[in-house]
C-alpha cells in the first residue's frame, strides 16, 4: 500500500540549460539578440521599437497607438488587404502590440517561409504607405473603441487609478488616447511619429528559432541592414510623489460588482531590491496561495480573485492590488486589503519566504518553454536596459536573499498610509461604504480619472 498521508518526495532535479543569448550587430549597428532553438522547424522574431505612447504630444494622446495600427495598413507594392493576404499564404502569424514604452512587431513563421516573411516585415518597417483612407478608417475605429470602453468597468478602474497615480505625466493617460485628443490626430502626425520616433535608433531585434547565427545575421542584414534613421528623440519624466491615502470612486449605474484598485507609486525595475520585493509580493498577492487572494477569495468569498503586482514602466514603477467584488462588500474588501498591506510590513514568516523562493526558483525553467517566451524574457531586459546576464544570475540571487531583506523590502515598498483607492460601482452603494473605511467622503471621478465637482 502506498502512503498517501504525505506528499511524495521529489527526485533529483533535471539539468536545465538556460538558452544561450548571443548579442550580434547588423551592418547599420542595430543590435540583434539571437537564440538558437531547434525542437521545431519554426522561427520567432520580435522587432522591438522603443517608441510608445509616451512620445505622444499632450494634445494628441493616442498617436503612438494609432501609428501602431496603421504601420501594417499597406507597405511597398502591397495595399492593406494584399499584405495580410501575403502573410496568410505563408501561414505566418504577424502581430503588433504596443504600450506606453514600445511598439513590438512579432512574427511566427515556419523555417521554410522565414525569409519571405521577414521580407514582408521589412516592407512594413521601411515602406509603410500611410494612406489617407486607411488613416480615416482606423481613426474612426479607435474613436468608436474609446466609446465602447465606457462599458468596461475593469478598464475604467485602471484608467482612473493610473490618472490619480501619475498626475500630468505620460503614464497618466490610456495608451489608446482620449476622445478629444484622438480627434486632434491627423495623418501627418502619424507620418511624423514614424519619421521621428519609429526609428532604427530606437530598435532592437530578437530572434529565437531553428536557424544558425550566420543565417540570422545574413537574413536580417539583407532585409533590415539598410534601415538608417538614427535621430533620437527624448522626453523627460519626473517621478510623481506618493500622498496620504485618498479614496475615489467612479459611478457605474446598477453595477453587480465593484472593480477595485489600491496602490501607490513604487520603485523602477532596476531598483537594487527588485529580487526581495518580488519574493515579498509573491507572498502578499503575486499568486493564488498569496495572503490577499486567500483572504478575499478563500476565506471571505468576496471575489473570484484578487492579486497584487509591481508594475514596471520604463521610467516609473507602481504597486497595484486589483480585484472585483460583489458590491455589498466594497468597503469591507478595501479594509481587508489595507489590513494585508499593514500586515506584510509587520511580519513575514520564514516558511512563507521559503515557499516563495521555492516557487520562483523552480518555475524559472518553465519560462523558457516556447519560442515567444524566450524572446519575451529578453525583451523585458532590453526595455529596462538591464544586462542579459540577469537571466543567468536570477535563481542564485533569489537563493541568496536573506529573510531580513524580504522583511525590509516590505517596509520600503509597501505604504499603507499613502494609497490611492479607486472603486468603480454604483454611487448609491459604493460611496457610503468607502466613507466608512476612511471617515470622510470619497471623491467622485469621471471615466478618465478627473475629479468631478
Amino acid at each position: 500500500m502506498i502512503d498517501r498521508s504525505t506528499a511524495p518526495a521529489p527526485g533529483k532535479s533535471l539539468l536545465f540549460n538556460l538558452p544561450e543569448v548571443k548579442e550580434l550587430e547588423l551592418a547599420n549597428g542595430i543590435k540583434l539578440f539571437f537564440v538558437r532553438k531547434e525542437k521545431l522547424p519554426i522561427i520567432f522574431t520580435d522587432v522591438l521599437v522603443l517608441a510608445g505612447s509616451k512620445f505622444d504630444p499632450p494634445n494628441k494622446r493616442g498617436l503612438g497607438y494609432l501609428t501602431s495600427l496603421l504601420i501594417d495598413e499597406g507597405a511597398g507594392e502591397y495595399d492593406s488587404l494584399q499584405l495580410s493576404d501575403e502573410f496568410e499564404k505563408l501561414g505566418s502569424i504577424f502581430s503588433i502590440t504596443s504600450n506606453h514604452d514600445l511598439i513590438s512587431m512579432t512574427l511566427l513563421s515556419m523555417k521554410e517561409n522565414f525569409s519571405r516573411s521577414l521580407e514582408l516585415l521589412s516592407k512594413i518597417i521601411l515602406t509603410p504607405r500611410f494612406e489617407e483612407k486607411d488613416f480615416t478608417r482606423e481613426k474612426k475605429k479607435v474613436l468608436d473603441r474609446i466609446l465602447q470602453l465606457k462599458d468596461e468597468p475593469a478598464f475604467i478602474a485602471s484608467t482612473a487609478f493610473e490618472k490619480i497615480l501619475f498626475g500630468e505625466t505620460y503614464y497618466a493617460y490610456p495608451e489608446i488616447g482620449l476622445e478629444n485628443t484622438v480627434a486632434e490626430i491627423y495623418n501627418n502626425d502619424v507620418k511624423k511619429f514614424y519619421q521621428d520616433i519609429f526609428t532604427a535608433a530606437n530598435t532592437k531585434l530578437i530572434v529565437v528559432g531553428n536557424l544558425t547565427e550566420e543565417e540570422a545575421v545574413e537574413q536580417f542584414n539583407k532585409y533590415l541592414g539598410s534601415w538608417n534613421s538614427f535621430i533620437k528623440t527624448y522626453v523627460t519624466f519626473e517621478m510623481p510623489k506618493r500622498n496620504p491615502t485618498k479614496l475615489f470612486f467612479v459611478h457605474k449605474e446598477n453595477s453587480a460588482q465593484s472593480e477595485i484598485r489600491v496602490g501607490h507609486i513604487a520603485k523602477k525595475r532596476d531598483a537594487a531590491d527588485y529580487i526581495p520585493t518580488r519574493i515579498m509580493n509573491t507572498i502578499l498577492g503575486g499568486q493564488f496561495s498569496s495572503r490577499i487572494n486567500h483572504n478575499l477569495r478563500e476565506d471571505k468569498g468576496f471575489t473570484y480573485g484578487a492579486s497584487s503586482v509591481y508594475q514596471y514602466y520604463q521610467d516609473a514603477g507602481s504597486f497595484e492590488v486589483s480585484t472585483a467584488v460583489n458590491i455589498e462588500n466594497t468597503g469591507a474588501s478595501v479594509s481587508e486589503i489595507i489590513k494585508e498591506l499593514e500586515g506584510i510590513r509587520k511580519n513575514i514568516s520564514p516558511e512563507e519566504i521559503e515557499f516563495a523562493k521555492s516557487y520562483l526558483i523552480k518555475q524559472f525553467p518553465s519560462r523558457f518553454e516556447t519560442y515567444s517566451q524566450v524572446a519575451k524574457n529578453i525583451e523585458q531586459l532590453l526595455i529596462h536596459k538591464l544586462s542579459i546576464n540577469e537571466l543567468a544570475d536570477y535563481t542564485a540571487k533569489i537563493e541568496a536573499t536573506a529573510n531580513e531583506d524580504v522583511n525590509k523590502s516590505a517596509l520600503e515598498n509597501v505604504f499603507p498610509d499613502e494609497l490611492v483607492v479607486v472603486a468603480v460601482g454604483d454611487r448609491e452603494k459604493v460611496s457610503a461604504q468607502l466613507k466608512n473605511v476612511a471617515g470622510n467622503d470619497a471623491i467622485e471621478l469621471d471615466n478618465n480619472g478627473n475629479v468631478l465637482n
Binding site: 519554426i42 460588482q257 493564488f288 476565506d299
Partner: protein
C-alpha cells in the same frame, strides 16, 4: 515533414477499475504535464440544478482526505509548477505542469481527490465556494457589457429540456441552492475512475511512472455506469428574434443556426466556412462590413461544435448610428452570395495554410499537447489524431464549403439584438 512532426508516440491502457491511462514521453524539456479529463460537463446536469459541474470543479480544489484546503495550489506552486481546471458543456479537466523531478506529486494529488474526496468536504467550504462562483458569474456575465448575451442566445436556440440550453456556470438562483448532499451525489455518480482519462506527458521514466500510476490509482473503486444523456434533435420551427437591453454604447447582433456535432461530416467544412467569412482582414464579411462599408466595429463567427450537437454563430457590433437590421441584411447578402457564386481556390488555400502551420505552432507547449491527447481520445477514442484532424481540413473542397453553408445557413435561426438601455 508536417506529418512526421504531428505523429505522437504514446501508449494507452486501462487499469482494472476502468481508469484510462495515456503516456506520452518527450525528453525535450525538463517538465512533466498531468491532465485528467472526467467525462462530465454541464450537459449532465438537470434543469433546476444547473452550474453543478462547474461548482464541483471548484470543490475539487478544496482538499480531500489527505490534502488540506488550498493544498493543491500550495504543493504544486512550491514545486514551481502550474495548475488549474476547467469545465465545459461536455467535460471537466484538471491539469498540472511541474518540473520533471516532481512528476509524482500530481499523481498523488489527483488520486487523492479521485478516491478520497468526500472526507474532505464541509459545509463551510461549500458556502465559501458558492460565494466565489457567484462572484465569478458577476465578474464575467452580469458586470460585463454584452455578458448576458450568450446564455440568452443558447437558451433560445435549444429547447429547455436540452442540456446545451443552460450556461456552464449555471443560473444564479441554482448556484445559490446547492447543498452538501448534491456535491456528494455528484461525486459518486461522475467522479469515478471508469469515467476518467489520465494523460501524463513529458520527461519521465515510463516503467517507473506506470508502476506509480498503478499504486496511486488501482485501489480506487470502480463506480456505477454513468447515466446516458438523452437528447432530441433540435429544430427551430421559425426564426426567433429577441431584443435584450444592456448597459452598452453600441448595439450588437448575434445570429445562431443549428448545425452538426464535433467531427461529424460537415464539421470541418463549417470551420473553413467561418474562416472564409470572418477570420482575417480579407475574409468576406470583414472586408465588406469592416473595411469597405465601415458599418460595423467588429465581426466574428464560428462553428461551435460539441459532443452532442453544434451551432454556427455570427456576432457583429454596429458602428454608431447604424441599425442592426442593416448589418443583418449585409451578413445575409454575404451568405447568399457565397452560396450562389461559390468560393475561390485562393480563399480555400489561405484558410488551409493558416490551419496547417497552427498545428505545428501548437506543439510548442507540453500542457497543450497533453490536453489535446485527451481531447482526441474523448471525441475519437484515438489520442494520436493530430494528422487525422489536419487531414479533415486538407480534404475539404470548395463545393463542400458551399454545400455546408446551403444546408444550414438558410434555415431558421435565432437572432439576438443587444441594444443600449433607453
Amino acid at each position: 515533414m508536417t506529418k512526421n512532426l504531428l505523429k505522437i508516440d504514446y501508449e494507452k491502457y486501462s487499469l482494472a477499475n476502468g481508469l484510462q491511462v495515456i503516456l506520452y514521453p518527450d525528453q525535450s524539456f525538463p517538465l512533466v504535464a498531468v491532465n485528467v479529463w472526467y467525462r462530465v460537463g454541464s450537459a449532465n446536469e438537470q434543469p433546476g440544478k444547473t452550474g453543478f459541474a462547474h461548482l464541483f470543479e471548484h470543490m475539487m480544489f478544496q482538499g480531500s482526505q489527505n490534502i488540506p484546503k488550498e493544498g493543491h495550489f500550495r504543493y504544486v506552486q512550491e514545486a514551481g509548477g502550474s495548475l488549474n481546471g476547467s469545465t465545459s458543456i461536455d467535460r471537466t479537466n484538471y491539469f498540472e505542469t511541474v518540473p520533471a523531478n516532481y512528476f509524482e506529486l500530481p499523481l498523488w494529488l489527483e488520486s487523492d481527490r479521485m478516491g478520497f474526496m468526500i472526507p474532505g468536504l464541509t459545509q463551510e467550504k461549500l458556502d465559501n465556494q458558492k460565494d466565489v462562483v457567484m462572484n465569478e458569474r458577476r465578474q464575467h456575465y452580469e458586470n460585463q457589457p454584452y455578458g448576458m448575451a450568450w446564455e440568452k442566445l443558447f437558451s433560445n436556440l435549444f429547447s429547455a429540456d436540452h442540456p446545451y440550453s443552460w450556461p456552464t456556470i449555471g443560473w444564479m438562483e441554482d448556484i445559490a441552492k446547492f447543498e452538501l448532499d448534491d456535491v456528494k451525489n455528484f461525486f459518486r455518480t461522475y467522479y469515478c475512475p471508469n469515467n476518467a482519462t489520465l494523460v501524463v506527458g513529458g520527461n519521465f521514466n515510463v516503467p517507473r511512472t506506470k508502476d506509480l500510476i498503478e499504486k496511486y490509482f488501482e485501489n480506487i473503486p470502480k463506480g456505477i455506469t454513468v447515466p446516458e444523456i438523452k437528447i432530441f434533435r433540435q429544430n427551430l420551427s421559425e426564426t426567433k428574434k429577441i431584443i435584450l437591453e444592456d448597459n452598452v454604447q453600441l448595439p450588437r447582433i448575434y445570429l445562431a443556426w443549428h448545425t452538426e456535432k464535433a467531427f461529424s461530416t460537415n464539421d470541418a467544412a463549417l470551420d473553413i466556412l467561418s474562416d472564409i467569412l470572418t477570420s482575417s482582414k480579407n475574409a468576406r464579411l470583414q472586408k465588406s462590413l469592416v473595411f469597405e462599408k465601415q458599418i460595423v466595429q467588429d465581426i466574428s463567427s464560428f462553428q461551435y461544435s460539441a459532443k452532442l450537437d453544434g451551432s454556427f454563430i455570427i456576432v457583429s457590433t454596429a458602428k454608431p448610428g447604424i441599425e442592426l437590421e442593416v448589418v443583418k441584411n449585409e451578413i445575409e447578402n454575404g451568405i447568399t452570395n457565397l452560396i450562389s457564386n461559390g468560393i475561390t481556390d485562393d480563399e480555400l488555400m489561405r484558410a488551409k495554410n493558416s490551419l496547417k502551420s497552427s498545428y505545428i505552432y501548437s506543439l510548442q507547449k507540453l500542457d497543450l499537447i497533453v490536453d489535446h491527447l485527451n481531447h482526441y481520445n474523448f471525441f475519437l477514442n484515438e489520442p494520436d489524431s493530430f494528422v487525422f484532424d489536419l487531414s479533415r481540413y486538407e480534404n475539404v473542397t470548395r463545393e463542400q464549403v458551399v454545400e455546408a453553408a446551403k444546408k444550414y445557413l438558410l434555415n431558421h435561426k435565432v437572432e439576438l439584438n443587444v441594444v443600449p438601455k433607453e
